[in-house]
Symmetry: C2
Subunit: 396 residues, 2 copies
């Protein structure tokens, strides 16, 4: 199959492509309502896009009186690859041009195995998706990694939980292997973009998306765009101090939020609860599996285990304390909580909410929804597809 | 004198006006280099601006080979009024179109006297500036107030240190009194805009500007634009919790940063140091004046008084602790420290720096300058003039 060879020639064409991505098949008349363009100029730009094959005609639109207009839509042949590399798992999905997921694979994986091993697995999963039908090839790929990224170059920098990744040319290497354009970002930013594209943040312009997985990070969206900071580390809230002179953290500092909560801290604290004889439920699970994970704490809490519920409440309270400061500072319109630990559900959410509503400025919380993400593991891969489509649907 | 009656007719004209504001007299050739416009279109837009009188010809430009080009500049008759209302003083200045301060008055004043009394004083100061020469009238005015503002309407909301101001229609009332367009913003945002326009943040795109006056606030600039948050309270960091279950704060909460530092806390702690017999220097000043202010602590510290130095160091450390979290979160390219308390100078700056560099993520601080503001009391009024000029130099 011939892959996407054309790019929009100007800002108008780029905007048309994004409108069609986000709105699906649309009539010329409707596009005219949304674009600040004369009718004749709009017709010229649409015709040029039809010539490139990026856009096709798609039947007659509903009548608005007068001559009926043709719907146009993005080429149904376009395929994007979304890759979401977490600390302990990898998700790979293929989407169409409207960023609908057509196929999705997830596998456990340890990011500490390093980029070569991880990308071998990613490429095998992408090949499997290709073989199983939803895509013959990819027009572009978005990749999320669990650490800060020098965004313009697509290179991870000094990632604390990713030894071996520092400076690895992810963008260049994968672009060569996949034979298509690649964009790389932090996994938390992609979760935020995914929830904005197809989840709970659809109408939000200024919001925070907190990902609680093995670690804790925060996607920051300003005016609808991800804010990455001066060196790409914006939103790295896991190493904000939650307790002066507190617990030692893997980063070398003391008292960081991640030393108290997140998947890694939760597993460690659950094992401590077993050693101290505080939970029969967790003890049984430890005996069965040899180790505990956040999912065990979630299951024990669901079964009413008091120690597990306490761990979740304490973690939520710590997270809420840090978030309360950030809410006072950033005055967001929405806070989304996502990531693997959302299996902890409403106990966690209630603890976070209580702390933020108690501690932040009333003016900042008066109208502030704090909600769980809607998309689960689909958020990251959807955000990854959005990332590469934003890049491809920009003037060349 | 005829006041500014025209507004730019389109985005190109608006951009030309801002280039001339920020760059001063410029040749058509240089403008052509900076605008993405054809030569003929540029000539049309410049000619239209000349017709409005907003822009005038200003002598021949330096030769670049070929026919010499005329310089053009903003009308030298344009005058902006900048008003910076603090908790305990008010600054009023008049600027030309390039935002250079032509006259500046400052007077003590208590914002708690309410908007009617405060604006009477502001109008008297503006009249004095008019009478003394630099302006016969004003083409627009920017006003800063020490609390959150509902920006689109120009109305203060629930300002904790400004009883009587909640909901007062500042923009509408002053626009009527002054007979010119008015824009209203939080004083801290204006300080950030002033330092960006003419001070230490000239080349910064993503930065924080911390104002330590009677209270503590933070201007947030993203991509060169002030970020105000969903309800206009972004940057209100004075009520971030610095100490769980700490000192009671005037806001009703406990442990807020402002309960520990800022002009009000500093004066109170200095008087406590006198009562406890810890400072002969401060005791002498209290006896002479009947009360202490932040300036007394600054003077005592400059004289080597140990208690005063301790108060400044403790306050700087508290401020640094809160800032460290915000630096990890926001990953700014620059942090500016300004406001009345900058009289405390390098002792304060050193304490803030030590805490931020120790506690924030290395990736966020690796290249992060933390510096004092350059403009002092001129920052706010310059930012106020910039605010109204941004508004007037936008398409109508």
């Amino acid at each position: 199959m011939r892959r996407m060879t054309a790019r929009p020639a100007n800002a108008h064409q780029a905007r048309l492509l994004r409108l069609l991505r986000d709105g699906g098949p649309t009539s010329r008349a409707q596009l005219g309502d949304r674009m600040d363009l004369s009718r004749s100029r709009l017709a010229v730009e649409v015709d040029r896009l039809l010539d490139t094959g990026l856009v096709i005609a798609d039947g007659l639109a509903a009548s608005r009186g007068g001559r009926r207009s043709h719907n146009i839509r993005l080429s149904p042949a376009l395929r994007f690859l979304g890759v979401d590399i977490g600390a302990t798992s990898v998700d790979v999905a293929v989407t169409n041009a409207e960023l609908e997921v057509l196929g999705h694979l997830t596998q456990p994986m340890d990011v500490r195995e390093g980029p070569v091993a991880v990308f071998e697995q990613v490429l095998a999963m992408a090949a499997k998706l290709r073989a199983s039908g939803p895509a013959e090839g990819f027009d572009g790929a978005g990749i999320g990694v669990p650490g800060p990224v020098r965004f313009p170059e697509g290179v991870p920098v000094a990632p604390p939980i990713m030894p071996g990744w520092d400076g690895f040319p992810v963008r260049e290497a994968l672009s060569q292997e996949l034979g298509c354009p690649v964009m790389v970002d932090n996994d938390v930013n992609l979760m935020a973009m995914g929830e904005q594209q197809a989840g709970v943040a659809r109408s939000a312009k200024d919001f925070l998306c907190v990902k609680i997985g093995t670690g804790i990070g925060c996607g920051i969206v300003v005016g609808g765009e991800v804010y990455r900071g001066t060196t790409g580390s914006a939103g790295d809230i896991g190493h904000i101090q939650a307790e002066p002179d507190g617990r030692p953290c893997a980063c070398g500092n003391r008292g960081c939020l991640e030393a108290y909560f997140g998947g890694a801290a939760l597993a460690r604290d659950a094992e401590a609860a077993v050693r101290e004889g505080r939970s029969a439920e967790l003890a049984a699970r430890l005996e069965a599996a040899g180790r505990l994970a956040a999912t065990d704490v979630a299951a024990a809490a669901a079964a009413g285990d008091a120690a597990a519920l306490d761990l979740i409440r304490e973690g939520g309270t710590r997270t809420g304390q840090v978030l309360a400061s950030l809410v006072s500072f950033f005055n967001p319109g929405l806070v989304v909580i996502g990531g693997g630990v959302t299996g902890l559900g409403h106990t966690l959410l209630a603890a976070i909410r209580t702390q933020v509503y108690r501690q932040s400025l009333p003016l900042a919380t008066g109208n502030l929804p704090i909600v769980l993400g809607e998309l689960g593991p689909v958020a990251g891969v959807t955000g990854a597809a959005r990332l590469i489509s934003d890049h491809l649907f920009s003037p060349a």
